[in-house]
């Protein structure tokens, strides 16, 4: 008498779940700090449900079949949420692989007398679960990559803020290396802000630029010239001694540009250009 594996497994669903939970709970990699046992059993049940339901339609022979799509969706969800909760990929992988033990355990009991069939079915289930395990890894990596991409975007966004320090004075701290694409963003942002706020002075602070080579200097000169074309004055501040040394050693001519060592002195110069004066107020102490 040949028994249908799918039927057996569906019948023994409760047993499988219990067995699986037991394996997971004794596993030393159980992370009670990240997820409560109730939550864990909820996730496990969801996965077993999805798997057993698809076994109705899908054949165990082909683990890549589209029929397993619902199971993969559930796995994707679990993998993503676990990635966010701080699980390591190994822990998520172990979670899926431990299902194999449960399934095979039940199967062994049921097919005790059919060694050939037991062997065949075990291989199939093994392959299927391995496949699912790999799928979780893929999703895990995809999730991480999305995070990295978002961060890259954020860095480009936040790394070029234009600050209005005074009426008619803008400051732009540049942090990180200036390459051509960055310069383009910096220039566009700065010029647009100059138009929007009709400021006459822009201070470019390069204290966060690790190194200035001839290319970076070229970019700076371009930005300054463009600002001048717009009718605003551009001051470069935050020049560290090492940068001054490299600039001179490279023979870069910055004589046409107003350069200051600190943002404070640049601001002071800007006040001078706008004929403003900053004074200490004399408090009425008497």
């Amino acid at each position: 008498m040949k028994l249908d594996t799918a039927k057996i497994l569906q019948k023994k669903k409760k047993q499988i779940l219990e067995l699986w939970m037991k394996t997971q709970l004794v596993d030393f990699s159980l992370r009670e700090d990240l997820m409560s046992n109730d939550e864990l059993s909820g996730q496990s049940e969801e996965l077993v449900d999805a798997l057993l339901q698809t076994l109705n339609t899908a054949s165990l022979d082909d683990a890549q079949a589209d029929a397993f799509e619902p199971v993969r969706d559930v796995l994707d969800g679990i993998s993503l949420s676990r990635a966010k909760q701080g699980y390591s990929p190994r822990e998520t992988g172990m979670f899926v692989f431990s299902l194999k033990d449960a399934l095979l355990g039940v199967l062994q009991q049921e097919l005790k007398n059919e060694p050939v069939q037991l062997y065949e079915e075990s291989m199939k289930i093994s392959r299927l679960i391995d496949n699912f395990g790999i799928a979780t890894f893929e999703t895990f990596i995809k999730g991480r990559e999305e995070v990295i991409l978002r961060q890259t975007d954020e860095i480009t966004e936040i790394s070029t803020p234009v600050i209005r320090v005074w009426d008619g004075i803008l400051a732009m701290p540049i942090i990180g290396t200036l390459d051509s694409s960055r310069t383009q963003v910096v220039m566009e942002n700065l010029l647009q802000q100059i138009v929007d706020t009709s400021s006459t002075i822009a201070i470019l602070d390069i204290s966060g630029v690790p190194a200035v080579d001839s290319l970076v200097a070229q970019h700076l000169i371009k930005t300054v010239s463009a600002t001048r074309l717009m009718g605003a004055e551009c001051i470069i501040s935050g020049i560290r001694p090492e940068i001054a040394q490299t600039v001179v050693h490279l023979g870069i001519d910055l004589s046409g540009i107003i350069t200051k060592s600190s943002l404070a002195s640049a601001l002071k110069h800007a006040y001078g250009l706008l004929q403003l004066e900053v004074r200490k107020s004399i408090a009425n102490k008497s």
Partner: protein, 130 residues
């Protein structure tokens, strides 16, 4: 044929370029403007290019020419209202427009020209009695 109007405001001439400058128009503008500078004995020329969104090297050269010619006729040239994209294009083309002053808007451009004027202020009286 399109013609760009040249307005006289006090000692200054003002031109607002509001159409796409094709080459012939630009050359005509150059000639007309220099004629006007000489005719009105203008002390400054204000060119508003706030509605110009496309420039090429020819346009950059014309602007440079106007500035240099006016300079010879003792008039300052100020370009006002340049769009960021235009400024970036000119820089990328390697045309930093040396010798031309720029200002953010007409108001600031006028201020700039007025600042240049005081040295010649005594002349003003002579002009009025003329």
């Amino acid at each position: 044929m399109d013609k760009i109007p040249i307005l006289k405001i006090g000692h200054f001439l003002m031109v607002a370029i509001q159409v796409d400058l094709y080459d012939r128009l630009a050359l005509n503008l150059e000639a007309d403007l220099i004629q006007a500078v000489s005719k009105y004995n203008a002390k400054g020329v204000l060119i508003d290019i706030s509605s110009v969104s496309i420039v090429d090297s020819f346009m950059g050269r014309i602007l440079g020419n106007i500035a240099n010619m006016s300079k010879i006729l003792d008039a300052e040239t100020v370009i006002v209202g340049m769009q960021p994209a235009v400024a970036i294009t000119l820089i990328e083309l390697g045309l930093p427009l040396k010798g031309i002053q720029s200002a953010l808007n007409v108001e600031k451009g006028m201020e700039l020209l007025q600042q240049k004027l005081p040295a010649e202020a005594p002349l003003e009286d002579d002009d009025s009695t003329f």
